[in-house]
C-alpha cells in the first residue's frame, strides 16, 4: 500500500480518496507546483494535511476569510491536530508575539494575506523551512475573478521573498481566463493542473419568477411548509431581510430557523452552527457575504432569496447542498426588482469623480472601504490616473458580463446546468428530468427533498434549575 493510502486510512480514518485528492498528492510528491480546481466539499484540507505528514515540515496556508480560517483551525483541532494555529487580526498582541516566537511549534500555519504584508512577520517566516505554501481560494489573485483581492496580488512578492517554496493553489472556481492569469501573476515554474468536474449531478436546478416581493415571500413560506422536516440554507444579500424572514419562517412553519450573518457575536455564531449540525435548527437564513464554516452533509435545499454575485459564486453556494450525494434542490427566487438592486450595488463599485480626486490627493479615507483597499493597492504600486481609469472600466465591464450571464441563467430557455457549468469553462450535454427545470417553471417535488437523516429534535423549555443540573 502506498504511503498516502496508509496515512489516509490509519491516521485520518477514511476508506478511499475523493476525486482529485490522489492526483494532487501524487504531483506534490513529485515536487511539482499544483493548481487544484476541485468542487466545494471535495476535501481540500485533507490534501495538505496528508502532505504535512509526509514531509514533516511546516505548511503555510493563506486564506482570505477570517471566519473560514478560524473554522478550519477549529476543525483540525477537533480532529486531534494540535500543531495548528491561525495568525490573523483576531489574535491580540501578546498571542501574536507568542505564535511568532514559536513558529517552529506548528505544522499548519493559517495566515491572512495582510499579515504577510507586514515585513517583520514576513522576516520570521523567512527563517522557517516551509514545506508547502498553500493559497486557498486562489482565484482571488486574478483580476478576472469577481472577488479579486488586491492583497492576494502581493503573494507573488511573498513567494519570492520566501525563496519560492513548493506551492499548491486551491480553488473551486477558475475559468480558463482566471487560470491563465494565475500562471501569469505567480510565475510558478512547471505548474501542473488538476481539474475535477465541479458538476454536482444530485443537485436539481430551478428558478422561479415573481411579480413582486410579497408573492416571493408567500411562495417561500408555502414551499417550506412542504419541505418539513428538512435541512436547508436560504441566502440573502441583506442582513435585515435575513432577520425578517427568519422570524417569519419561525412563525409560519415547523422549521426552526435562525439568521446567520456578520452581526452575530462569536458565541452566537457557535450556537447556531452547532444547533444546525445537530438538527435542532432546520433552516439557516444566511448572507452570502458571510463565510460559513459548516460542513453538513444532509443539507437538502439551498434557496437564493436574492441574486448571487455571479454564476461561479452561485455554483459554490449551492454546493453546500447534498454533500451526502442524495437528491437536493438549488432554487433561485427572482423578481425584476432584484436585478435593479444588483445593478445599483454594482454601480457602487465604479470610480466616481470623488474617488478619482481622492486618489489624486491621497485622501482615501473618504472612499468606500472596499474600494479604498483597491485604491490603496494601486497607489502603492504607483498606478497612474489614466491606467486606473482603464482598470476600473475593465472591471466594470467584467462585472457587467458576469451579471449578464447570471440573467441569462435566470431567463434560460434550455438546460440551466449547461449555462452554469459554462461559466466555469466546463461543458455539459446530458440534461434529463433530474437535472433541472429546463427553463420551464414547474412545481417543486418537495417530497424528494423533505427528509433528513435525523428527525428534528425540538427541546421542551426547561426550568433554569434543571438546565444547570443537566450541565453537570
Amino acid at each position: 500500500m502506498a504511503v498516502i493510502d496508509q496515512l489516509l486510512q490509519q491516521k485520518f480514518h477514511y476508506k478511499a480518496f475523493r476525486p482529485g485528492q490522489r492526483a494532487t498528492l501524487t504531483m506534490l510528491q513529485r515536487g511539482q507546483n499544483v493548481l487544484a480546481i476541485l468542487p466545494t466539499g471535495a476535501g481540500k484540507t485533507l490534501i495538505y494535511q496528508i502532505y504535512g505528514e509526509l514531509i514533516h515540515r511546516p505548511i503555510l496556508i493563506i486564506s482570505p476569510l477570517l471566519a473560514l480560517m478560524n473554522d478550519q483551525v477549529e476543525r483540525m483541532r477537533y480532529s486531534g491536530e494540535r500543531r495548528v494555529v491561525a495568525l490573523n487580526s483576531t489574535l491580540d498582541w501578546s498571542e501574536r508575539q507568542d505564535v511568532l516566537t514559536h513558529l517552529n511549534r506548528y505544522r499548519y500555519l493559517f495566515v491572512s494575506p495582510e499579515m504577510l504584508a507586514n515585513p517583520q512577520i514576513l522576516k520570521k517566516f523567512q527563517k522557517l523551512l516551509i514545506g508547502l505554501f498553500v493559497i486557498d481560494e486562489a482565484h482571488c489573485i486574478s483580476q478576472w475573478a469577481i472577488d479579486f483581492r488586491p492583497d492576494y496580488l502581493n503573494l507573488a512578492h511573498v513567494l519570492k521573498k520566501l525563496g519560492q517554496p513548493q506551492t499548491l493553489l486551491l480553488t473551486a472556481t477558475a475559468s480558463q481566463q482566471v487560470r491563465a492569469d494565475l500562471q501569469h501573476k505567480l510565475r510558478l515554474p512547471s505548474l501542473q493542473t488538476v481539474v475535477e468536474s465541479i458538476n454536482r449531478p444530485n443537485i436539481y436546478l430551478a428558478v422561479h419568477h415573481f411579480n413582486n416581493e410579497a408573492a416571493k415571500q408567500n411562495y417561500l413560506l408555502q414551499l417550506l411548509q412542504k419541505l418539513t422536516p428538512s435541512s436547508g440554507i436560504i441566502y440573502f444579500s441583506s442582513k435585515k431581510m435575513a432577520n425578517v424572514m427568519a422570524t417569519a419562517i419561525n412563525r409560519a412553519t415547523n422549521l426552526a430557523t435562525a439568521a446567520y450573518h456578520a452581526d452575530l457575536s462569536n458565541p452566537d455564531r457557535y450556537k447556531i452552527q452547532q444547533q444546525f449540525m445537530n438538527n435542532q435548527l432546520q433552516v439557516i437564513c444566511a448572507t452570502t457575504a458571510f463565510g460559513m464554516g459548516i460542513n453538513k452533509p444532509d443539507v437538502r435545499f439551498v434557496i437564493h432569496y436574492h441574486l448571487p454575485q455571479d454564476l461561479p459564486s452561485y455554483q459554490q453556494e449551492i454546493g453546500r447542498g447534498g454533500r451526502d450525494g442524495l437528491p437536493s434542490l438549488a432554487l433561485l427566487l427572482y423578481t425584476d426588482q432584484d436585478a435593479n438592486l444588483a445593478r445599483q450595488l454594482n454601480s457602487l463599485d465604479q470610480l466616481t469623480s470623488v474617488d478619482l480626486k481622492a486618489y489624486q490627493t491621497k485622501q482615501l479615507t473618504q472612499v468606500a472601504p472596499q474600494k479604498q483597499q483597491l485604491l490603496r493597492f494601486y497607489h502603492h504600486h504607483r498606478v497612474t490616473m489614466e491606467k486606473l481609469r482603464i482598470i476600473f472600466a475593465q472591471r466594470a465591464q467584467q462585472k457587467q458580463q458576469a451579471f449578464q450571464a447570471l440573467l441569462e441563467y435566470i431567463n434560460q430557455t434550455g438546460c440551466r446546468r449547461k449555462k452554469l457549468l459554462a461559466s466555469c469553462s466546463e461543458s455539459f450535454d446530458q440534461h434529463d428530468d433530474d437535472c433541472c427545470d429546463n427553463g420551464i417553471e414547474t412545481e417543486i417535488n418537495a417530497d424528494l427533498y423533505s427528509s433528513t437523516s435525523q428527525p428534528a429534535t425540538n427541546k421542551p423549555i426547561m426550568d433554569w434549575r434543571e438546565i444547570i443540573t443537566k450541565l453537570f
Partner: protein
Amino acid sequence: MSNEITASDALLLELLSDHQPRRPRLLVNLLAGKKTVATRYWGLRYGLLGFAGLQRYWGSLKLDFSGTQGQGLVTTTSKNELKLTKQGIAQQRRLQFLEPWQGWQASFQSLDLLHFKQRLLLLIQVMSERAHGNRQYHPLLVAGSDRQFIKTYYTRLVSPLETAQQLKEDLQKMLGSLTTTAATVVAEQLVGFENNGATLTQIAFNHQWTDWEVIQADLFGIAQLAQQALQDTSLTLSPLLQGLQKPIIDPSVATTLQLYQRFHSLKAVQNKRQMRPSTITEHLLLAAIDLPLAKFPYHDFVSDLQIREIQKELGQQLDHWRYEALSDRFRSTCDFWQFRLGAIKLTKEGQKVQNYGSD
C-alpha cells in the same frame, strides 16, 4: 409590522427624556464609549454615564433614529435634538415592565462584563464536558485572551470534578438570587454537554418575550453574577474577574490629577507631563466628571462667587449655557474650561449623581 417596537427603538426611548432635548450624535458616541470631554460632559448632563460603552457589550444592537419618529414617539427640535412625546413617555414606561437590578450601571462601569461573560460561558462549557467525561467537543468561540485565561484556570485545578460540582452549586445559588427572568435568560445561554445553548433572539422567541426584555435581563443577570463574584471570593466564578476591573478614571487622567495635587500648579504639571495646556485641562475636566464631588479641587479653579456670576449672566438652565454669551469682562477672568467646570459642579450638586466605585 411597522408598529412593533424593536429593541433599538426601546433603547432609544430609554435614553431620551420628555423635558431635556438630547443630541443623537452624543448618544451614539456615549454608547460607543468615547472618552472626549464633550461626550462625557453631556453624558453627565443627561444622567446617562452608566450607559457609556454598552455598544461593545451589545454588539449588533444599534441606535436607530428613524422608527420611533414615524410612530410619533419622538420629536426633533429645531436644533436637531430629540425629545420624547407624550406617547413616547407612555411607551417608555410600558417598556419598563422588567424589574431592573439597580446596580447594573455601577457594575458595568467598574467591571468588564463582556469578557466576564465570555469567560463564564467557556468555563461552564469546559467543566460541563469534563463532568460528563467528554473530551471531544468544539469549544465556544471567544476572544483569544479569554480562551487562554480559561485554559490556565483549568490546568491549575487540583480536582476538576470537585470544582465542577462546586460550580454547579454556586450557579444554583447565584442564579437563585436573580429574578426568574434574569436567571432563565442567563441559564438558557449556557453551553455544555449535549447542550448547544440558545441565543438571545431564540430565548425571546421561545418565551414570547420581547428582544429588549431579554437584552436587559441578560445585562442585569450577568452584572449581578459579576458583582456576587466580586464580593464573595470563595465562589468558583470569582477568579474569572482577574484583570477585568476597570479604574473609575483613566490612568493617564489620574496621573495628571495626582501631579496637580502634589504641585498645585498647572504649569508644573504641564512641564512634568510634557503635554499641551489644553490636554492638561481636558484631563482635569474628565477627572471632575468621573470623580465624586468631594474628591475634586473645584475651588482651585472656579470659585462659588464666579459660578453665581455665571448663573446671574446666563440663567439657571445649564443646558442652554454658552461661553460666548458671557460678558467680555467676565470672560477675561474665566477660561472656557473653568466655565465648564462650574457647570459640572452645579450638575453634580443638582443631580443626585451616582458615582461608580469608591466614594
